[in-house]
Amino acid sequence: MTDLLERRSAVSTLLDRLPDALVVTGLGSPTYDVYAAGQRDTNFYLWGAMGGAVPLALGLALAQSDRSVLAVTGDGEQLMGIGSLASVAACAPPNLTIVVLDNGHFGETGMQASHTSLGTDLAAVARGFGIARARTVETTEQLVELTDVAAQRSGTTFACVRVGLHENARAMPPRDGVANKHSFRAALGLTTF
């Protein structure tokens, strides 16, 4: 466990290198990590709807094919919506990149070990579902390469980013989902409804 990436700096690297990406976050720490990297109107933060980050990002990626779409979630949230990786593979939107920050634990509820600490390999799962470009990321170099791939929008990409059990202060974005929806759509030039 010595050299695992630190989640906040990993997310910061990702987002700094993908300034134009549309970002969907999974509830819990990934929502805080993305907000800590800097507020953008094109971030959509989930505070619930566990298992929904990837299918929500899929609908967004299909609607916005000219933009890179990034789902940033955790191992627990991804596990609850694991079947959505099959649905993503079936559609294969070239502009969608899924980043799972995998610390092997349910961080929001007391750090209970998750399945990824107990034998599940999420990159292998994603590959098995049919996402050919699936990888485990353990170094900053691999993280940087991942952002290059994501920016190209040349194929659905899945990355299981192994991160340590670092303690971070909570960085909480507003919990007003309606306001978040409106500001996100406004940033794309869309009306409220």
Partner: protein, 177 residues
Amino acid sequence: MSTAVAATTWQESVFRGLKKAGVRQVAYVPDAGHAHAIQQAKDDPEIRDVVLTTEEEGVALVCGAWLGGDRAVLLMQSSGVGNCVNMFSLLESCRFPFLTIVTMRGEYAEFNPWQGPMGRATQRALELMGVTVMRVEDPDEVEATISAAADSVFLAGERVAVLLGQKMIGRKKWEQD
């Protein structure tokens, strides 16, 4: 293939109503009653069809589509409504427009008792989670009802489920297996 299903008027009406409403993404867990609309969605170059492993994915997908400017619909059977319950909180938390077309089981000439519990709870489950229910029993009213629901959803930002009654759908006999 689509030839396994004889497209009756109400089945064609489902897709026609969605097409006229400008739907661009059709997400579904298959049901025989939706087979025609699913095939039409696949054949339409302007529409993306998205097959799901569970219906709750479709709730999130429809919201993501709306965030990105697409109108979307979730097609499912009544059993799928139960799979969606917590994901429905996304709709109210963010007041996303939401349209779903639900084929009913467990309510009329149902041969499978396993369809009963969720079929009987479908309408109340939707309403408990803040989704307005419109029921259709008359095949001549399918297109108009979907059109009315689509207006409420896409023009007024509402959350609406159109339930297609099992009496209208008919006894399950349209597929061998």
